[in-house]
């Protein structure tokens, strides 16, 4: 059994995207954006591929001080049980991509994000 990640990150591209969102004043810091991206991916049923070439940006201790994210991921996704933070990383990657796409198309409205759930994994 492979041990879970102790750090999480994003691909270089997603990292730049998150940095852009932060610089645009959307998020107060990168960690907030990262957590939000995880939440958005869960809500919209998004997930990045397993073979993610992510670079480290956060220690999981900083990301998930109370273990809430880990518990949630483990509980919601059976396949995440073994390596929940590695799974959360894939969620964050997908969430950031979604956010930047909305932002670049001028459609990033938070009220919409909290509206009725759109599960993209089931829409195709």
């Amino acid at each position: 059994m492979t041990s879970d990640a102790v750090t999480v990150g994003l691909t270089a591209e997603a990292h730049d995207d998150l940095q852009r969102l932060k610089d645009a004043g959307i998020f107060g810091d990168m960690l907030d954006g990262y957590r939000f991206a995880i939440g958005l991916a869960i809500r919209r049923g998004l997930i990045a591929p397993e073979d993610l070439k992510a670079s480290t940006i956060f220690n999981v201790g900083s990301l998930d001080r109370d273990g809430l994210i880990k518990d949630m991921v483990v509980t919601l996704f059976h396949e995440a049980a073994a390596r929940p933070y590695a799974f959360a990383e894939r969620l964050a990657e997908a969430g950031v991509k979604e956010l930047i796409q909305l932002y670049d198309s001028g459609q990033l409205r938070f009220a919409d994000l909290f509206g009725p759930t759109i599960d993209k994994s089931k829409s195709s």
């Binding site: 998020f27 939000f36 939440g39 869960i42 809500r43």
Partner: protein, 657 residues
């Protein structure tokens, strides 16, 4: 006029005054106002542009003459005052020969006046001209119909700036005859008092009063000097305020735009601050917002888990029931007693009980209970229950709505700001602000000086009363030798009182007379039957009173002109000497009926009127025919080139053009 503005070379206009009205025709931009300016310039040495700013001397010289390197210009005026003949001449020429003058200081101004062919000392000329027609009321005699807002200011301005105009009006109405007499009596009184003190000083008993009287008189002299200085300061400030007022009036529209711009910029700043606050709030909400994002998914999962848990619990209960029943049947089979009544259980029913036991055992074998799964469900429910909404969704919705609204407002305000900034381009905003600030500063100083003047006047009154007291005491103690002087002093004091009372009486009477005469003219001019009279105020401003003794609060440009003409007429009727009135574009804002009314009363306004009119404001056929018996002569300004005009005697009435 020689080389005066568009008039190249020498041009003469003759006002014979055999009949009261001279008409000078000229289209816009051809030089009508120049003729008004020629009168103003020769009389006061100033010519004004349409913003009431002084025109530089270089611009007063005809351009064609300048092209020929002739920088000299001259206006001559021949006039009669009573039976005295005057010839006034004002000329400018380069200060240095062969030089090209640019600034006012590069010109030399030569002023020349003769009275009955005798030259007047140069230094006496301007005071004499100002005495005949004070500059401050010149606008009433050099009437510019296109500057009506100036008349509004002159006539209605209630603040102390108009006090100089009031003084000047009273000057031409003859008040100085009385006020000068008071001054002369004051000098005589002072001298008599001095003689009284000098005589009384020889008397030991009166000596102490003389000393005190002299100290008081010295204090009076000082206070009077202070008052004079304060009055000079006050007049200097008023003049500066008037000059700034002129600039501020010209830039009033710009100033209000600047104020609007400041308000808008302040609102923009407020909106930007609001947007920053909203952005901070949004970031704060987004930091915990991920929880709200997953809440629906978590809720759904929790529901599934709880359903599953509930099924497990139902199974557990069912197993418990089966075990209890099995235990009961086994007891029955072993004891062969009925579990309900304790009687022997019938043997024939035993096989049935054994069948039931078999079925229960089979059911128990079929029921599966995954304890690990149940434990997992419990653990998962506990963990997911910790994820509770932070309220971010509703808050973010509100924040986004507020942000959207603020951004819409911001764009609107920024568009308005840009529009105003475009309008303000080319205007010296700093200078306007400086003028406003200086104006406020001067008004404050004026208020302070006027308070000081009041204090000093009160002080002077007290000192004069003290001095009178000492004079009485001196008179009483010094005995009969001072009787004649005491009597002389008393006579002076009584005369001063009488004249002072007369001044007040005359002022009141003049206002009554002006009001009556102005009303008489006004009622002939106005076409509104509901207007009943004009009411004069302390500053000689006039208000229209309509039926029911009610004031007309706002006046149209036409009504404004009618009121101004009424005041001019009334001033002329009551002035010590009547003066000609020169009116530029007098009918520009009047309808035909008002115009006809004005023409009808022209000859009553004063003995000599010069009308400078353009074709759009007067009908040479109908209008001029109507007053043909009043017309002395007609002139027409001709446009000879873009910068040159000429003036010709015109003879429309004689059938010419």
């Amino acid at each position: 006029m020689t080389n005066f503005m568009p008039f190249y070379g020498r041009h003469a206009i003759e006002f014979t005054a055999k009949r009261p009205v001279t008409v000078i025709y000229g289209e816009n931009m051809w030089g009508k106002t120049t003729i008004l300016n020629a009168f103003r310039w020769v009389w006061y040495g100033t010519a004004l542009d349409r913003f009431k700013n002084n025109i530089a001397k270089r611009r007063l010289v005809n351009w064609d003459a300048v092209d020929e390197r002739n920088f000299s210009m001259q206006v001559d005026l021949f006039f009669l005052v009573d039976k005295d003949e005057f010839q006034l001449s004002r000329k400018i020429q380069p200060k240095y020969e062969e030089s090209i003058p640019e600034r006012d200081t590069d010109f030399e101004e030569i002023l020349f006046l003769t009275k009955n062919d005798r030259s007047i000392k140069t230094s006496d000329i301007q005071p004499l001209m100002n005495g005949l027609l004070p500059l401050k009321v010149s606008d009433f005699f050099l009437f510019d119909g296109e500057q009506l807002d100036e008349y509004e200011q002159l006539l209605l301005d209630p603040d102390s700036q108009s006090s100089l105009i009031q003084d000047s009006i009273e000057d031409i109405l003859g008040l100085p005859a009385l006020t000068n007499a008071i001054k002369d009596l004051g000098v005589n009184h002072k001298e008599a008092a001095k003689r009284q003190r000098s005589l009384a000083a020889k008397d030991r008993a009166a000596k102490s009063y003389v000393d005190m009287a002299e100290r008081t008189e010295a204090a009076i002299d000082n206070t009077e000097m202070d008052l004079q200085q304060l009055a000079e300061q006050r007049n200097t400030i008023i003049r500066e305020i008037q000059s700034i007022d002129k600039s501020l009036r010209e830039t009033a529209g710009i100033e209000s735009e600047i104020q609007r711009l400041n308000d808008i910029q302040s609102n923009i700043k407020q909106l930007r601050d609001d947007l920053t606050r909203l952005e901070d709030e949004r970031k704060r909400m987004l930091a915990g917002g991920w929880v709200d994002l997953v809440t629906p998914v978590v809720s759904q999962r929790l529901e599934e888990l709880r359903n599953e848990q509930s099924k497990y619990i139902s199974s557990l209960e069912h197993i418990g029931e089966l075990h209890a029943r099995l235990k009961q049947i086994e007891k029955l089979l072993f004891e062969r007693l009925c579990p309900l009544c304790g009687q022997s259980y019938p043997e024939n029913m035993m096989p049935s009980a054994e069948r039931d036991r078999g079925e229960i055992e089979l059911s128990l074998e079929n029921v599966q209970l995954d304890q690990d799964r149940l434990n997992y469900i419990g653990d998962a429910i506990r963990k997911l229950s910790k994820i509770t909404t932070s309220g971010a969704a509703a808050a973010l919705q509100q924040i986004e709505e507020n942000t959207r609204r603020s951004n819409v407002n911001l764009v609107g305000l920024e568009t308005k700001r840009d529009d105003i900034q475009r309008k303000l381009e080319g205007h010296d905003q700093a200078l306007i602000a400086e003028n406003r600030s200086r104006h406020n500063q001067l008004m404050k100083r004026l208020g302070t000086i006027e308070e000081h003047i009041k204090e000093k006047q009160n002080q002077l009154q007290r000192l004069k009363s003290e001095a009178a007291d000492y004079r009485n005491k001196i008179g009483q103690t010094a005995g009969p030798q001072l009787t004649r002087l005491n009597r002389e002093l008393n006579i002076y004091e009584s005369l001063i009182d009488i004249y002072t009372g007369a001044v007040e009486h005359l002022k009141r009477q003049l206002k009554v007379d002006i009001e009556v005469d102005a009303t008489r003219v006004f009622l002939k001019l106005t076409t509104d039957p509901s207007y009943k009279k004009l009411q004069i105020n302390e500053r000689y401003g006039l208000t229209i009173i309509r039926e029911g003794d009610r004031e007309v609060p706002l006046r149209s440009a036409g009504a404004e002109q009618i009121v101004a003409l009424s005041l001019i007429s009334a001033l002329n009727m009551n002035a010590v000497r009547r003066a000609p009135i020169i009116m530029d574009t007098p009918f520009g804002r009047l309808d035909p009926t008002h115009r006809a009314n004005v023409l009808k009363v022209l000859s009553n306004m004063t003995h000599q009127v010069v009308l400078l009119v353009h074709s759009g404001e007067i009908d040479r056929g109908a209008d001029i025919d109507r007053i043909s018996n009043q017309i002395d002569s007609e002139y027409a300004i001709e446009r000879l080139s873009g910068v040159r005009s000429g003036i010709q005697k015109s003879s429309y009435l004689a059938g010419g053009t």
